[in-house]
Symmetry: C2
Subunit: 414 residues, 2 copies
């Protein structure tokens, strides 16, 4: 907290001290707050040289830019500092010269959300809470359950009735108390909100907690340093709630403010066509209209995104744009990414790559541009969707009858 100067409402612009816990007292629950820092003071500590000497290879290496105390107790599982992989074969496939993937599926519970949850559990401990809660069935929930376990905190997670059993299993393995609410996501969300208030638990819903996005931004901080301070022309991120892309942009903006990078990348926000209210708000300039989401990319199937404004402002400020892709394009992106790079991306992660492909085809991204796509989650988390992306294996007899024909078909023998 050494360099945090306060909190500023994204809607009304009012500023507050950090004694305000969640949203803007004037605007109420829609008044998302943004953490403010003393950048001139940070610039004295955070330099290319000082970073090069740091031995902390996790997202905590950027502590000056995080809303945590110097003496904060940190989770034992290392979060972040995930690999950036340059991939020529996938670049060629998408019609590009230079493509990087930032593989955040390598985080402890397999998604970028670990960055946010890690900050969440540190804040919970700082505020002397023993219980932290959220509503989710996806990566936010599993990352919270895992990080809370790593930190010795209890987690309470509200899931909707139809939460897929494999996702619930992860939560239970991490020892979370899982409350399955007879209703949909909105019911689970409302009950988690009222329960946090009633029982005094720390609230990890990124819809209201201003600190989580600070964790998410570390993915952008790392990109700058891992690419040796030469940021790509475009950075593609899939968009559901809007919090992640806002965080990534904040990172680039901060790195520029600190003089660590020369220019900033354009942000490409990508939504699934069946769940695209943020793209609509971006294109029309009108306030967000809630929709009923329908897409295979469940991690970004958000009908009422609560960080939509932050996302729209981020993409605008970067000079970038937003586009949508169909589910079939997402499945194709899962296939070509797996086949050409060995990275298994979950559907929401592949959405960013599908968006790059479409943006190149539509001339939004030039073929000579350098592009980085953020792989936000590991495909192992949602094997069922992957099954929709692939064909069947070949059946053969144990004596090998028919094998030669299959191999000829595959071009393996002539």
């Amino acid at each position: 907290m050494e360099f945090v100067t306060g909190l500023k409402c994204v809607f009304c612009g009012a500023t507050y001290s950090t004694r305000v816990t969640y949203t803007c007292p004037a605007c109420g629950i829609t008044g998302m707050l943004d953490v403010q820092y003393d950048y001139p003071a940070i610039a004295k500590h955070l330099t290319r040289r000082s970073l090069a000497n740091r031995k902390e290879f996790s997202h905590w290496r950027y502590r000056e830019l995080l809303p945590i105390r110097k003496d904060a107790v940190l989770p034992s599982l290392p979060v972040g500092w995930t690999p950036v992989v340059q991939t020529d074969s996938l670049a060629r496939h998408l019609g590009l010269r230079t493509l990087y993937l930032k593989d955040d599926g390598r985080n402890p519970t397999g998604s970028l959300k670990d960055r946010a949850s890690a900050v969440g559990v540190v804040k919970a401990r700082e505020k002397q809470h023993k219980i932290i809660a959220c509503a989710s069935t996806g990566n936010a929930a599993s990352s919270l359950a895992g990080m809370a376990a790593s930190m010795g905190l209890k987690s309470v997670i509200f899931v909707p009735e139809r939460a897929p059993e494999p996702k619930v299993t992860q939560l239970l393995i991490f020892g979370a108390t899982v409350l399955r609410v007879r209703g949909g996501y909105e019911d689970a969300f409302q009950l988690s909100q009222s329960s946090c208030e009633r029982w005094g638990w720390y609230n990890r819903n990124s819809a209201i907690n201003p600190y989580l996005v600070e964790g998410k931004k570390t993915v952008g901080l790392e990109i700058c340093e891992q690419l040796d301070w030469q940021v790509p022309d475009w950075v593609a991120v899939s968009v559901g709630d809007g919090c992640t892309i806002a965080g990534v942009w904040k990172a680039f903006h901060e790195m520029k403010t600190l003089g660590l990078i020369e220019g900033t990348p354009k942000m490409l926000g990508v939504q699934a066509a069946g769940a695209a209210p943020v793209t609509t708000a971006f294109s029309t300039g009108e306030p967000l209209k809630p929709i009923e989401p329908h897409t295979i990319a469940d991690s970004i199937a958000v009908g009422v995104p609560r960080n939509w404004k932050k996302a729209v402002l981020a993409v605008q400020a970067s000079g970038g744009t937003m586009i949508n892709v169909e589910d079939e394009e997402i499945l194709e992106a899962m296939r070509c990414t797996g086949r050409l790079t060995g990275i298994f991306a979950e559907p929401a992660a592949a959405t960013a790559i599908a968006g790059v492909r479409r943006a190149v085809e539509e001339g939004i991204i030039g073929r000579k541009a350098s592009v980085l796509a953020v792989v936000t989650g590991n495909g192992l988390k949602d094997i069922r969707s992957a099954q929709a992306a692939v064909t069947k294996p070949f059946d053969i007899a144990p004596d090998g009858t028919g094998l030669e024909d299959i191999l000829k078909d595959q071009g393996f023998v002539s």
Copy 2:
């Protein structure tokens, strides 16, 4: 290959040049070969100081101890240098003072096998093969498919008829040609062997390929360096085929030979009670008797382990021992590891932890000993088994009726 002096048969002791490709020409298919190095020459290059200055944070940082050329083309996905996590809460739970987990579920495709497959694809490329093959449904297969994709090679994978669909899905995502053999694992293995011979593919079956274990040993090399050259009293590894524990022991033996560590840890080899032919061979001193494996830990459900001799020799040389655990103990280890550390271990990985618990209870490991257990694979790879380990979530109404009672039961409110 700079420091490789040759290959030595584990059975008959004959030595060969590296022109021999797979097993001992004298002993045939059971004659596993072991890679020999010029340790005095390596000792001049590989020192604590030289390692401290290396920027390569992957398992390739130990190149002098790997059977690859100086100019070898490496896969683009970083393998290894996975975290070692000290966990006081799990240590207490198991009755120990000091416990570390080496989380190899953080590898690219989620298991320790990525280390072996990475060496496999490098060797395939070195020998100018375009196709690499194996028989497996598990981690060996998915790691081969992923590493081959990362390297631009084709992979051909033979799976038995009953291969679980989620595991096959991973292979297909990575673009592997998956051949489902109407029969069991032994049929798939035999057809993969004859196909490699007939079509001239590179063979990644660790039953015969001498280089894969060299990849696996890097987990042990890393443990030495990550624990600042103070190795623990015991290192626990689950045992299926036997190749992994042999590799880990080879690492400690090499580090001692090079003068980088003072002593070596005792190895605790842990098998599932329903698939324990190696423990039986270790205890009786008799040759291995094949069995029909029955255990939830499918990655170590091996009835005819082909590296059993290497494993027995390794455990004996270390002064350690082997024990078995029941499936219920494995499930309990998955639960307590998840709840107390935030690490989701697959059943075969949790087997090592269950073994530590039993070894402490039986007085084999003293309560004051320091212990490291290798988490060989990520639980996300086998959600179905995890479902057997957990209880159900609590069902509640959207208005929160009944919530207070549940919270009282859980001890969250009084």
